[in-house]
Symmetry: C2
Subunit: 662 residues, 2 copies
């Protein structure tokens, strides 16, 4: 078929695609990210782009007449019919967002990485000692207490050459795979110092990969990028849906996550840091021999190319939970094809390997003290326990804190309001409400991210702008007004913002096309947004309550609360407690563990004890299914207030509110 060249603006990135390819897919191929909340189903209208060239499109009611006149189309419903220039307006661009790659470092007493490199100095064969090459290798390994090793057909085919080229003095890489020793590589003895591994956090939105020196445990470099699966839907359910309903959906989702990871591997192995260490360009990929990945259960399934459809349906059964160790070649990862790939075990369909990794990173199962771990993302997961027992649950908290389902919400990326403070002063004819905010990158704001939303709601609540139920009070202020979707509060005025401000091509009457800067828009929060956020925080809090009650504990019994996930690291803890998102316990009990998924993966990569601990966590963790749990429903309903129906649960908040009212 004929190829068409599609150029994306303003990035000026071009890509060759087949005639008839969807613009959304062309963007993925060009490594340009267009928003696609609904997964390319033509339902969300978030992927509007302006085209110059020939496209075949469906007429969508999500486009205004003006947009249609100006050649706007939905990227997901338009096919490339020739060379094309596509302008992605700001609102449709998936912004480069802050990715938390750091996690709490745990000191490993002893490195016992997933692969070991041993020097094998073998006697040269003679007529008296004429056993086969493979028996000779096994004899050498037995002398180092490695018995009955297995070997793949492809590696066996390489043995004779590897032994002779290296004069019987080789480096052997060994891994314990599913309880058996396997020979993973036979190479020169000099290769022993080139011993690399990857820790991978497979997020639904973002993928982070660390290149790690398995001899020293040091992280050489970390890279992250969007999960390319985003074009197939933004959350786990959309992806499952895509896998099930689209022709070739599962293979495509698998291909996209593998491409995402391979792209990051490519970047990591071209990294300056590697050159600095004197590792030859291009040789490194083959020296990557051990991989640990952590992801939620759906991401783990898609990574392994396993059908995720049963995760979505009661009784929510994944294909696999304690995942057998596989090889890079099984998964098309562009590293040494023999590399072992260990996935951190998933407990259930909705408590995945990312949570197991969080627990590893927190170290909570190594301690006597009673701990609670909370991971807030699109889903909220909570885990409680100590070294002897663990209970877990998950709730579909909703993606409010990720900026979805909130009109001017956005991810934590450039231009997002991340901190907010209000002052409210009585004034003639009403109130003077001032809003102070800080944006990521200190540029004009274009929306509000999770930490900003928490600040905003807490400030609105403490200043009496909203009531316990999240209703906006009728204060006299120009910032409080009736919008199209009901009452709203203006956070930033149009002239301050870059929201909707964009260079837009307009067709003049004579047909000439001119670029014009559009106007900014007010950034607001609506009553509906506030209710969404309250539902999310109520779900998280109720999950924790159910865990505690089911084990006959109260929040006071907790010694420690670990907050995992990128979201946690940037929020104002006091304000999160004020809203009733997190329990009202002394702040010193809180501990932020950062990207626990990546951190736990790294620990499992470097320590046999941690891999065993992951399996122990899998085995001892009980899972409470909330979707059919009456207690959860009651707790959730009680938590739909700020901070909670029962203010006794939030004594310091009650005190502060009293003080404010006084």
């Amino acid at each position: 078929m004929a190829d068409c060249v599609v150029t994306f603006q303003p990035d000026n990135k071009s890509v060759k695609v087949e005639l008839g390819e969807r613009i959304l897919n062309a963007a993925v191929a060009a490594d340009v990210f267009i928003n696609s909340v609904c997964g390319g189903l033509g339902k969300c209208g978030k992927c509007k782009v302006q085209v110059k060239g020939d496209v075949s499109k469906r007429d969508s009611e999500l486009l205004t007449e003006e947009e249609k006149e100006n050649d706007f189309v939905l990227a997901c419903e338009s096919a490339v019919m020739g060379d094309l220039e596509v302008y992605i307006p700001e609102a449709s661009r998936a912004a480069k967002h802050q990715i938390l790659v750091k996690s709490k470092e745990i000191d490993l007493k002893r490195l016992t990485p997933i692969t070991r490199k041993l020097r094998l100095t073998l006697p040269v064969p003679s007529l008296e000692d004429n056993i086969s090459d493979f028996e000779r290798i096994k004899r050498g390994l037995a002398e180092q207490n490695i018995e009955n090793p297995r070997i793949s057909a492809s590696l066996l085919r390489n043995c004779a050459k590897a032994l002779r080229e290296n004069l019987w003095d080789v480096g052997a890489t060994i891994a314990e795979v599913n309880g058996t020793n396997e020979i993973v590589n036979i190479d020169s003895k000099d290769s022993i110092k080139k011993h690399f591994g990857l820790a991978i956090d497979i997020g639904t939105t973002t993928v982070v990969v660390s290149l790690i020196d398995l001899n020293t445990g040091e992280t050489i470099s970390t890279k992250s990028n969007y999960n390319k699966q985003i074009v197939c839907g933004e959350d786990v359910l959309a992806r499952i849906n895509y896998a099930e309903e689209e022709e070739g959906g599962l293979p495509r989702l698998n291909k996209l996550i593998v491409e995402t990871i391979n792209f990051l591997i490519e970047n990591l192995t071209l990294d300056d840091e590697l050159c600095r260490r004197g590792i030859e360009y291009g040789t490194c990929k083959d020296d990557i021999i051990g991989i640990v990945a952590a992801g939620n259960t759906t991401m783990s399934h898609l990574f392994l190319s396993l059908d995720p459809q049963h995760i979505r349906l009661e009784p929510y059964i994944p294909t696999v939970s304690l995942i057998p160790t596989l090889r890079a070649r099984d998964l098309n990862l562009e590293v040494n094809p023999e590399a072992v790939v260990y996935c951190v075990p998933c407990r259930s369909s909705y408590v995945g390997g990312d949570i197991t990794a969080d627990i590893l990173a927190s170290g909570l199962t190594k301690k006597e003290e009673l701990s609670l771990l909370i991971d807030v993302g699109t889903n909220g997961e909570a885990v409680m326990g100590n070294k002897e027992w663990l209970v877990s649950c998950s709730c579909s908290a909703g993606p409010a804190f990720e900026g979805v389902e909130v009109q001017h919400g956005m991810r934590a990326s450039m231009g997002a309001i991340e901190k907010i403070a209000l002052t409210v002063l009585p004034k003639e004819n009403g109130m003077e409400i001032s809003v102070f905010y800080k944006t990521i990158g200190d540029i004009k704001p274009k929306g509000i991210c999770g930490s900003g939303l928490i600040d905003l709601l807490a400030e609105m609540f403490i200043h009496g702008i909203i009531d316990k139920g999240g209703n906006i009070n009728d204060l006299l202020s120009p910032r409080i007004r009736d919008g199209i979707e009901g009452k709203e509060f203006v956070v930033a005025w149009a002239h301050e913002t870059s929201l909707g401000r964009d260079m837009i091509a307009h067709k003049k009457e004579d047909g000439e096309i001119v670029m014009e800067e559009s106007e900014g828009k007010d950034i607001v929060i609506t009553e509906a947004d506030i209710k969404n956020i309250i539902r999310t925080k109520a779900a998280v809090y109720a999950s924790c309550s159910v865990l505690l009650k089911s084990m006959n504990h109260t929040f006071e019994d907790l010694d420690k609360i670990y907050i995992a996930g990128g979201f946690g690291n940037y929020i104002d803890l006091k304000k999160a407690i004020l809203l009733g998102l997190f329990p009202d316990v002394p702040l010193k009990k809180y501990d932020f563990i950062g990207n626990g998924s990546l951190g736990g993966a790294k620990l499992a990569l470097l320590s046999k004890d941690m891999r065993e601990e992951a399996e122990r966590i899998y085995k001892m963790m009980t899972y409470i299914e909330l979707s059919v749990n009456n207690m959860f429903y009651n707790e959730f309903t009680s938590a739909l207030f700020l901070p909670h129906t029962d203010t006794n649960l939030f004594p310091t908040v009650a005190e502060q509110l009293d003080k404010n009212q006084g």
Copy 2:
């Protein structure tokens, strides 16, 4: 590239090949076999064919002027340059030969085949019992005492579907692979009765495959064919040479043996016998789930695509001897891709899996009695021992008994003289020597096969036509004459034979081509042939002597002598002893085990005890390298007489000779 159609006569088989393909390769593709002793190097001249059409050829001195005029070319040195008709004269045709597929049957007390099929009736998942599919399978297997099974990535990908399609009531196939349980298949519970395996004898010349019902142990059908590698050389050394020196030699040899086996599998699964048993056409290949192959060390290497070059060079090191169990997908076998493939272990570079299989088939390591096992082929291998110890050796006996290196020798195929008796009567002016013979197929003879050669030499010796040294005595008889290569004995006169008789196209002077039957030729045996045969028998006998002496035994100590291989089954034992090929012990001590390679493979396929026995044989068998052994040289030299320098070793022969002289 353009395709050319090449048609081979007299079979009238056509094949499409690329322009420039060698005729020899085109023949393989057409499933027509042309002799090629040197492996397509243009050295043996055995692949002469007559062409009609455009070829690109090298001028060879192996062709006579007359042959060149009549468009004869060497198939190995001529490339197809357009559509072509190729006539393969009788002498260049690799005849369909008798293949011994039967082997001694050993009664297995209990079937413990390489794969087991179990019914797994699993509870349907619920919210209370919501473990993953794979954990559910593992739990079900643990109830049947199968712990910690491994699974491949591809099978894992199929689990969810297999369980649900079969309503949680499935047939699981399990194999013990390198000491660990592996799940090899998950299928409907009805599939339990369709449980098939293959026993494969990978011979250098011939490949035999049996389709076996693993539930009953019954052989359903057996098929055999030439090893397609023959075009790359007729013996093991020629193949190793080809692998080493030709561009892409090893992949090609591997491809040819895999094609040979896949072709036989195709035939087996289309077999009437399968239809009779009600197994649906086309479903069977996927039901073949366990495979055991036995071959000499080089054949095993080529089957596994392992470089065999170090087998050939001192100190003769194979890549592998105790061969790890692999999967059909690793080897491109067209059966269930998960099928386990076990190769019978090889002891050393020249005592291979075929010999280990012979030992299994003989059962000698299960008995107290002292046994000797002899396998005569291109190589001769001898093994001695009992249930507690084993010694082995091999000698390059030379392929005399396979008809190679003997002017009118041939394989045991249609038209081969297989039995001979002589009468010698004094007559005026000399002797009247009559030759009585029987050919395979009872047609006009075209050569002499191994059993015929043994009969012939024994008869010539007993009648005084040759002396102890193999020299032809100057008896006055038209059958004894001086030939081009020295003295020779006429076995059959030209008018009786079909040797060289062929329909040959001749170009007449006016250019017209006519078919004419050529004349037959005398079938003779030359003094040089006789010396070659004596060298072969001396090597075999000397090997056995060395084994006995090295363990301080004499032939009298032997309780049993097993003769393995197709050759053994057709020979006249008394005559073989008369020549000194086999030791002079009571005939009742001899036992023919037939195709022990196939028989042993079948035993290993059906019995865990036999697989363990194969490993025990590998471990307890000592190997004596004869090529550097002085004792062997002395024994060989002493055995270069009929029956032997030391006639005390052959008392019954001495007695018979005395009687004849008396």
